[in-house]
């Protein structure tokens, strides 16, 4: 992906990671080369929207439609930033 300066960030899952639903534990997981991260609550849905096409405001809008009244505008951007700092989103 080539980022043009000034182009908004379109989060995508880093290639080393696999996002999957764990049917045995009924939760979403991020699987890495040497780790498994359990995604609590709606975190898996948020990560699922990080497909490299949506901008952060785009992801926020989609979630706001799905969950009217939830504080997505406040929580989601900082959550995505955290995942980026971990190197899990590019």
């Amino acid at each position: 992906m080539t980022a043009v300066p000034g182009d908004p960030w379109r989060p995508a899952l880093a290639p080393a990671l696999m996002l999957r639903h764990d049917r045995v534990r009924d939760t979403d997981l991020l699987v890495l080369p040497e780790r498994v991260v359990v995604l609590e609550g709606h975190a898996g849905q948020i990560v699922g929207l990080c497909d490299g096409t949506r901008t952060v405001p785009g992801i926020v809008d989609t979630l706001a439609e799905r969950y009217p009244g939830a504080p997505v505008a406040d929580d989601v951007p900082s959550f995505l930033d955290r995942l980026r700092r971990e190197g899990w989103l590019t």
Partner: protein
């Protein structure tokens, strides 16, 4: 691997997260620290690809989400692609653990097409000649270098995996720089764990305290320098630290191992326990093995503990250390791991780590079928 902590004691054992699949004991290398058993499984006894596919499906149903495809050298299996595809089909993340010998461009692209997710490459020393001497195979360093470049070009995550001992500990800085120059994402510096061939060669492999102290300092320096770029993992030398390792995250708690001939073990070294009577995936379904087999129940939880472990506040953190080590050093697998400074047997370990002055360490025996007379 690091995984979420298992939940506290429940009537049903916790679900396993990971499977170590030892696909073959055959290996073109002959590392003296190899943790494979002295009695290596014959090729003719190995599980077929169809049997592995079945094991992987059952493992996924049980909760396994991650598998290390290991050995020996898994690339020696011509049907490795089928095994990778079966794992991917079952939703299990695959990591190939390889020495690099036998990985060319065609093989890697076939493995990638089958769904391979990541690669862990072992290296024995930062210098080619010393690497090949320890591995007991000429040109094995060159093969590793090529393999690393191929994996990088394919865009797969790459980890470097170094087992540390007397013969390479002083070059730990050069090993980190080697990993950096190969473009790896992660470097695991694992002080030798003494099982199988490693146990046989223990006296030759044990470093000195001074070596370890210097290596630790070097690793700390590089860790700061590489923060955010390359993950540096230091697997502690439990013999020296006086602290037992939380082996496998607990017996039958987080992961299981299946050996080339289908033996299912709570830990890769557990084949050394003479009266464990481990189940085999050819005879029993995996859920029975995990939930019901006496071998997996044996040291699960804390009720079996003896000695200082029984009342120790750390028992839920380190599970009393390693059962195989307790057996290797005391002859009783239920005793406190002698690596722990609180163990009544800790002097056994101290005698090994702090030998009398003037004792010269022996030479090591390279891992080769038939290299040692069988004792059993």
């Amino acid at each position: 691997m690091t995984v979420p902590r298992p939940a506290a004691a429940s009537p049903e054992p916790p679900r396993p997260w990971a499977l170590l699949a030892e696909l073959t004991h055959a290996c073109p290398l002959h590392c003296p620290y190899c943790s494979n058993p002295l009695e290596l499984a014959r090729r003719s006894a190995e599980l077929t690809a169809a049997e592995w596919a079945d094991v992987l499906r059952q493992a996924a149903d049980l909760g396994v989400v991650h598998t290390h495809l290991s050995g020996g050298e898994p690339l020696l299996r011509p049907d490795l692609e089928r095994i990778v595809a079966a794992a991917e089909g079952a939703g299990v993340y695959t990591q190939l653990v390889t020495s690099g010998t036998g990985l060319d461009e065609d093989r890697l692209s076939a493995l990638r097409a089958a769904g391979l997710r990541s690669v862990q490459l072992s290296v024995q020393h930062a210098e080619a000649a010393a690497n090949d001497r320890i591995a007991g195979r000429p040109s094995s360093f060159a093969a590793k270098e090529r393999a690393a470049a191929l994996v990088r070009r394919a865009g797969l995550p790459l980890g470097l995996n170094v087992v540390l001992h007397r013969d390479n500990l002083d070059t730990v800085g050069a090993l980190v720089e080697l990993g950096e120059s190969w473009g790896v994402d992660r470097i695991e510096l694992a002080n030798t764990q003494f099982y199988g061939w490693g146990l046989l060669n223990r006296a030759a492999l044990l470093p000195t305290r001074e070596q370890l102290a210097r290596a630790r300092e070097t690793v700390e320096h590089h860790r700061e320098r590489l923060a955010g770029r390359v993950e540096l993992v230091w697997v502690v030398p439990d013999y020296f630290d006086g602290i037992a390792k939380p082996c496998m995250g607990g017996w039958g708690a987080v992961s299981l191992t299946v050996t080339p001939d289908g033996t299912a073990l709570p830990c890769p070294a557990a084949a050394s326990l003479p009266d464990l009577d481990p189940p085999n995936v050819r005879d029993r379904p995996l859920d029975w093995i995990w939930d019901r087999s006496p071998a997996f129940a044996r040291y699960r939880g804390t009720a079996w503990m003896t000695g200082p472990c029984g009342t120790c506040p750390r028992r839920e953190e380190d599970f009393g250390g390693c059962r195989c080590q307790a057996y290797a050093l005391t002859g009783d697998a239920a005793r406190t791991d002698p690596a722990c400074a609180l163990s009544p047997d800790h002097h056994v370990v101290r005698a090994l780590t702090d030998p009398d002055a003037g004792v010269t360490p022996p030479l090591y025996v390279h891992r080769r079928p038939g290299a040692v007379p069988q004792v059993r």
